[in-house]
């Protein structure tokens, strides 16, 4: 896959929709595109985070360690962003991300990520939207869990 094709794929990700193509090109050029085999880890819960991943193809499972063993809490697919929390705030990875199928992702390092976010407010807003959506979903899940506990 050449840089041009990558840029095309990246532009379809909502987060990058409003960013000028040359900057996306820079992002694509300076970022590593990685292929993961099923079972490979994108990141491991508890490790320090230094990069976020934009999934370009394939699926990944989000796994959380619980006292009763690992628990798959979500599945991610094309155009999803993972691992951004640990690079936004310096906390260890909150979950393990494992490739469920063969997966291609763009690895964006902390430095590049912050550069992009500070340079393009649109991207920051988009980022907030993604996080907010995720918060809504989590709150929802929590609600359901509480209710099922009560029963």
């Amino acid at each position: 896959m050449s840089l041009k094709e990558e840029v095309e794929i990246l532009r379809q990700i909502p987060l990058f929709a409003k960013i000028e193509p040359s900057k996306i090109k820079l992002l694509a050029f300076t970022s590593e595109r990685l292929t993961f085999q099923p079972g490979d880890l994108l990141c491991k819960q508890g490790d320090n985070g230094d990069a976020a991943y934009f999934i370009m193809a394939g699926e990944a499972s989000v796994i959380v360690e619980t006292p009763s063993g690992p628990l798959t809490v979500a599945t991610l697919g094309k155009n999803d962003v993972v691992g951004e929390i640990a690079i936004l705030i310096d906390v260890p990875r909150t979950a393990t991300i494992e490739a469920a199928t063969e997966l291609t992702a763009l690895k964006i390092t902390k430095d590049v990520f912050f550069r992009m976010v500070t340079e393009f407010p649109e991207m920051a807003v988009e980022m907030m939207r993604v996080l907010a959506e995720r918060l809504v979903r989590t709150t929802d899940d929590l609600q359901k869990a509480k209710e099922s506990n009560r029963k």
Binding site: S2, L3, E6, K25, L34, Q37, D40
Partner: protein, 892 residues
Amino acid sequence: MEVSRPRLMEHNIYKYILRYSMKQQIILTVLSIASFPFLYYFLTLPKVIINQAIQANDIAFPVEYVGFEFDQNEFLYLTVGIFLVMVIVNQAFKYIINVYQGISGEQMLRRLRYDLYGRILRFPMPTFKKKSPGEIIPMITAEVEPLGGFIGEAFAVPIFQGGYLLVIVGFLVVQNWAMAVAAIALYPLQAYFIPKLQKQVNLLGKARVRLVRTLSDHLGEAVSGVEEVHAHDGSNYMRAQFSRLLDEIYTVRYRIYLLKFVIKFLNNFIQQLGPFFFYAIGGTMVINGTLEVGTLVAAIGAHKEMAAPWKELLAYYQRREDARIKYEQVVEQFDPAGMRDESNQLTEPEELPHLTGEMVASNIELADDTGTKLLEGLTARFKLNERVAIIGPAGSGREALTHVLSRLIDPDQGRLTAGGLDLISAPEAIVGRRLAYVGQHGYVFNSTLGDNLFFGLKHRPLHEKKYEGEEETRRQTYIKNAELTGNTPDDVDADWFDYDLAGVTDAEGLKARALTVLEMVDLSDDVYRLGLRSTIDPRQAPETAELILSARRRFFEKIEADPSLKNMLEAFEQDRYNTNATVAENLLFGTPVGDDFDLDRMAENRYVQKIIEEAGLTETFLQMGYQVATLMIELFAGLPPDHEFFQLYGFISSDDLPEYQAMISRIDWDHLDQLKEEDRLRFMSLPFKVIPSRHRLGVLTDDIQEKVVLARQKFAAELPPHLKDSVAFFDADAYNAATNLQDNILFGKIAFGYAQAAEKIGAVLGTVVEEMSLRNTIIAVGLNFKVGTAGARLSANQRQKLCIARAIIKNPDVLILNQATSSLDAVTQARLMENILNEFKGKGLIWSIDHADKTAGFDHVLILRRGRLAESGSPEKLGQGSVLYKDMLTGS
């Protein structure tokens, strides 16, 4: 055959010269004297030629000479013929004397340097606190250099030149005593004034030597302390200090020049007074008819001849003074109090007793150079089959005690015995083999890791190296020259390994032992990794190369068998483009050897240009270069120049970017064939750096890749003979001597864009190494790793572990460690301590440690306070009964 040398160095240079080169000096003197008759005869010849042969005064032709008759012409030819012969004879004498002088001087210089070096090796330790390498080094290298020249001429020059002068004066006296007196009348004046002036020059010379020493000391400090200079913005202050030193030297040199040239002026003036008198007095006498013209000419000639030796004598006098000062100043620096006796290092006892029984230190007193007492009447005894810990607060004398026990520092008073042996008087041959010491920062020599590890096993050449033919002759000359100059004839290339000491029988055994010890000090993984990254010469280690090749085959079997791994490594294949390597690597398809091919500057190489041109790729490359440049400008133009991207994705550095910007706006895509040479090179250089898989620029189409592969084959096939050794080509079935073991096994590029590819490939490599039991072979290669100056290519931890391993591998009866592991992290420290305690179970171990809680594994503990032994006993006993020990336990 040991030459006995005086304990004190001769303080007078003449005594030193006579002591070691009496024979040479006598030969030189005899040669000089033997030359005088010929010289005298040579001086009288012009008179004979002019007065008799030419003017025919006092002679009747034909004249009979050794049985032949000569007429005037023949007589003239005869005399000028003799003149020519005499010229040759005199010059031959000069030549022989000069060469012999030079050789004698060099021999003495070699001896002097060797003596001084030997003295450094015997300096008492505290001396090195006061003398820096910056001071010592120039003394042996530069300062003594002129001494060699002087020593050769010390006696010969005054005798030869003085005699020469006397001959000429004698000749003049015979000719006409009045003129002789006139010619030398002013010499006493010179002889009086010159030494006076010279004395001042000498004093200045002394000052200059001292200043230069300070200068080199400062230089040494600037280099060693360069971190501090940067960290504290101290460069201005350093510069000012340096400038002041230079000024002092300048001032001294300035004054030396003034005086030197005053001396020269006086000399020349007085010299020229001679002709003045000759013309005045001699001329008057010729006019009056009391002197023949021939005699006057001969006298003037003789006086002219006189100028040279007289000048030489004066110059000799200056050099002598210079040499005397240098010698005295150097020698006084090499005679510190408390220096060990030479026999202490040179004696090789018949038998090396093992240290058994008890070690007893009684009434040990030791003060440092300020007079502060470090040990005050310390008395301690412990068994030599016990592991002893020394603890105590700062200033308790722990460190000083380890120095005394290991015999690095002589105590001011007291006795030290081990078994029945008096350690204070024991030769280094016993102390240095039966004891081992490691301090907090051991020193690693600039050599290989193995050389450092085995340093403690090399005491004497044990098995001479066999030489044959020409080499044997060379070796004999070496021995002869060494003995002539009091140097050691020991052969550095002989087998020095003391296998017995290491407890093994041969080199193989030693290798095995080395692996054990490296494991013990937690260094074997490091050496293994260094081994993987080392190169070997397959001619010298064909078995290793063969093993590595089979490892390569096995590695690829594994990779091929696992589909998930297969894509992660792209092997080098002769007829396929490697998309994970740069274009330069693809074209060269090998490892550069030497400087002929530089992967970063391929575009500039004439041969590469030729191949590219012939492959029809020049235009393609220019177009690619243009594309890459355009893209880089588009991407990077807005970035600040110091942005890391420039370095990480460095097709174009930030400095060059504006240049390329200008080029792109100036040059049209369609006119790439009409570029200036400079622009051409700029564009051409870019595509060589492209790695298709990594950069994904899409400029390197399949078609171009194919062409590059063809060019690659052409490159190898047409390589001219003078470049044959400049590339080690990749060959799947051959070991590549130019690259390291790891790359030889992998024989390809780890693919970009696969998660954890390096780790996974590394794991396969690890499996192969394990399955084939290659680890030890690779560690053995790692032992050849060059550690750099003071071990700079190793980490501080690796250096320290290496020093500990060096002390253990020689199987000492007593290992003395002075906080030797304290710079390591806690986990490593604990592991090392456990290993060493195990190794020395039932042997002698003395370990000065900083925390009482680490003493649990020891048999015996000494607690020091204020330079004395406060308490001692087993850790259990102390733990029950000693308040001090309990305090230290809780305090730590």
